[in-house]
Symmetry: C2
Subunit: 242 residues, 2 copies
DNA sequence: GTCTATAACGAGATAGAC
DNA sequence: GTCTATCTCGTTATAGAC
């Protein structure tokens, strides 16, 4: 009886994976807006109503794809980071950013799903938040370690940002000073600005040799969040140099 | 006969505008991927074949909407800039960025059309380039003026970026040093990272008081491209402060 | 209980004959 | 330019196999 349940569970996992794989294929071909349960079922040789045993609605399938995409990106970033865990914070920061770009270039349609235009009529549920946070958490960790090791340069905040900065700090990383959290969140958004512009064609005929450009840009972001070169930690605030 | 032709031309302009208005409405409701000439025609009480007198294909209608969106954004940024044309480069930079954000918040679906995920099966023709360049040209102008006025802090480039930086400089602004152009292009992409994250919901539950956050972040971008406060122009490279 | 299949709904798109 | 017959879609109800 336990073997029967095991087989059943295994089959269920396999079918679920097949549905998501086919859905991802359609995502690439037609975009998230045109993702259709019926087309997925047809391609798999199933009948559309059978899909409802696996995903209660089209939106639930979309949510699963979104969480998978965030997790796939998060894993890529985390394993890249693990390989340089012993390095300095600036190198770790750049490694995480480069891994995020690499993942995005390898999975452009899934990138568009999570960081591109919202899908009309769909709003992501709270379940997506943990997976969506993984890269951000990683970057916070890098800065936290640097801050413990005094490698962080603090830059002052304008008066009208003080309360919001304190709220953000309390919410995201109470052990880090507000001005660092503000720079971190801005850099986080700016990182995806760089990736999105490359992926969505805005850099066509503008930036040709993209990898060094990207590395240099995220190196400047590292500087913005206070990750300076070791020898500059004392005289923090100076421009980065190779 | 010239009056008849005038009336004809006027009617054509009006119908063209009505088609684009209706198409924009559908853009907001269903997204660019599902934009359908038939649906636009139905809503206007026309027959679908009549639309082809105004737009030879769905892609041409999309192109027109994209150019309109870029132009609308460009106009907003340019007129905002004109009002502070006499101010310092840092204030002019921030004004342009704030205007871009204001336009994006007022026209989220058109923003998604031009800076969001690519529309499956559509590739933008070269005609869109001039309109798409307007904000970038504006930002280059601000930095150019500052550079002439010595308000620009130069930061060194890594060796592997030198040739690409020189190519970009020659292409975009031969009168500006390569390291400034690189910082400018990166900041340009990062600006839309900030706007996109706010617009597409990535800042939900992360950044609440967004305007001061945005102003502060683009102030840091200004600093990245070398637009420091007048009194700091000599000791360039220091952190920005209000 | 778990799954798949049939059939149907209401809504919308589409192709072609007229 | 109009009409109609035939597609698509998400979703549900129901029945039967395992």
């Amino acid at each position: 009886m336990s073997t029967a349940q095991g087989a059943r569970a295994r089959a269920r996992i396999e079918v679920t994976a097949a549905i998501k794989d086919e859905a991802r294929r359609q995502l690439a071909a037609e975009g998230a807006a045109k993702l259709s349960l019926r087309a997925v079922a047809r391609e798999l040789g199933m009948v559309s109503s059978a899909l409802y045993r696996y995903f209660p609605s089209r939106d639930d399938l979309l949510t699963a794809l979104i969480i998978d995409a965030y997790d796939s990106l998060g894993e890529e970033a985390e394993s890249a980071h693990a390989e340089v865990a012993a390095a300095g914070p600036r190198e770790r920061w750049i490694t995480v950013c480069v891994a995020a770009r690499r993942w995005a270039l390898a999975h452009p349609h899934e990138y568009a799903l999570i960081y591109g235009s919202p899908v009309p009529g769909y709003t992501a549920p709270q379940e997506t938040v943990p997976a969506a946070s993984r890269v951000g958490v990683l970057l916070i960790g890098v800065v936290r370690d640097a801050y413990g090791g005094k490698g962080v340069a603090r830059t002052p905040l304008p008066a009208e940002m003080k309360t919001e900065a304190q709220r953000m700090s309390a919410e995201l990383a109470p052990d880090l000073p507000p001005e660092v959290i503000v720079a971190l969140v801005a850099s986080w958004a700016q990182l995806y600005g760089l990736i999105g512009f490359e992926l969505f064609g805005q850099f066509n005929r503008v930036v040709e040799d993209r990898e060094p450009f990207f590395r240099h840009a995220v190196g400047r972001l590292a500087h913005d969040v206070g990750l300076v070169y070791p020898e500059q930690a004392a005289t923090a605030g100076g421009p980065p140099s190779p």
